[in-house]
Amino acid sequence: MSIALTRPTASRLGLRWLWVTPLVLVTALIAGTAIGETPIPVDTILKVLANQLLGADYAVDRIDAGIIWNYRLSRAVVAACCGTSLALAGVVLQALLRNPLADPYLMGISAGASTGAVAVAVAGLGAGALSLSLGAFVGALLAFGIVVMLAHAANSGVGGGRGVQAAGAIILAGIAGSQLFNALTAFIITKSASAEQARGIMFWLMGNLSGVRWADVSLAVPAALFGLLVCLWHRRSLDAFTFGADSAASMGIAVRPVRGMLIIAMALVTAVMVSIVGAIGFVGLVIPHAMRFIVGSRHTRLVPATALAGAVFLIGSDILSRVLVSGQVLPIGVITSLIGAPAFALILVRDKRS
């Protein structure tokens, strides 16, 4: 009987929860705009929004309006996009590689994207935001390709054609790949960048939202939406990988094209985010696991839940990075890693036990 009672409740919960999504997101964005070195009252924010978006004509302090519109709001929106994208990339990698520790940061994708972006920025291969993203994308794919090849080579002695990826191999390959690309980044910086350039890049590499403007928003929002739509469209394919690639194939998933497309899409989205804010760690690892714990591992729910939680988490981390040390902005990567590293350890320990 308890079965009959719990089922409809669960589905009602799912529905109610969907209603809440935009509310939570808007609240987080307003909080991200309101909280900071100079706190700004919510009604001022709403007035500025009404002025900008609806063409209203409220009287607002010009400096406040400037801070809200040109600085904090764009920053909060990019933080949300970035959190959504990195968390979704984590969901996809964990589902496809059947590895709870997969995430764009650990798999070398972020490191590769950093190298690509730095190469473009320093060596001056073209200019503008788009070419920076393109460089990051090439770097991301290159790094991921090397990591997968390395893991494959390490596994081929054991394989037996069953497509079982030994959990350890791909993580070790990811670490090796990350180190390699981080070294390449450092090499490019010391070789070609001026001292001032180098300082700026190092700060950016740790994850930095300070330079974000509306131009970045127009790149980040479409990228995040694209990532979300791809994941939602392929939610059943992601579910089908529950028992591995062979099982997915026997249930009608064209494994190679679907897996390739999903990974390239996530590498692209990650690369766009890295080119805007630098490499931010642990979002892709911690958020999907937390959400699996709350909404379960079916992607119909997991994908939207992760997208929302990633956005809120990164807006929150950004707020912390601005208020934790007064008069100074910490790199956001420091905050996410301070939260993420212990969570990572927790996952490792729990994984060992089960």
């Binding site: 037996g160 028992f243 099982s247 026997s250 009608g252």
Partner: protein, 254 residues
Amino acid sequence: MRLSAEKLAWSVHGTPLLTDVNLTVEPGQTFGLVGPNGSGKTSLLRLLAGLNKPKAGRVLIDHQPMHTLKQRTIAQSIALVEQQADTTDRITVRQVVSLGRTPFLSALRPWSKEDDAIVAQALRDVDMAHMTDRLWHTLSGGERQRVHIARALAQQPKILLLDEPTNHLDIRHQLSILELVRQLPITVMISLHDLNHAMECDRIGVMDNGRLIDSGPPHEVLTTNRLQQTFGVYAHVIDDPVDGKQVMRFRSAM
């Protein structure tokens, strides 16, 4: 549906695992696949399920070459129960069996009441209906195997391939699964280690060293000679006084 293989070959890193396999399973037949460890049973089932592309030869589903069909189309006709498939996801029995509906669902054809009914029936077929909401990691090996079979049944396949499905099962569930599989009105190919179980199939094929060395009705194929040559055991046949069927006893060949 008729399932046939023509001159199938398969190899990994230059090691041939299957050589020149020809066979046909007629619609509705239950075909048992026997052979020593490493004789190529699993490789053959993987090729027949479309998980690997043969290095040579082809697989035909009702005279249609498999390589011309989409993976999704294949999965709408053929289901496979693998030997071992595990997950670390926190997922319920119902959710696992629901995965079997994947090849039929799309943006235009969302989950429906009918799918719910198919899943419920599949769970009843394997005697797991009382565990619908149990979590996967709390199940025993045998229960997991039965859930996998239910998942395959939820695909409503016309051809069902099972790779040693009775491993891990207690004797009662071994018999009930075999009984269920035999009664299904669809084409079934099942690899088995228990030769007495294999005797209940309509036809059997014997694999040895990557070749299908013999196939036909069980009594013609599983002769004492064959058992000694391929499996390296002596067998003698005993009549069961209860139902008059024949039972094989084995002794190791000195």
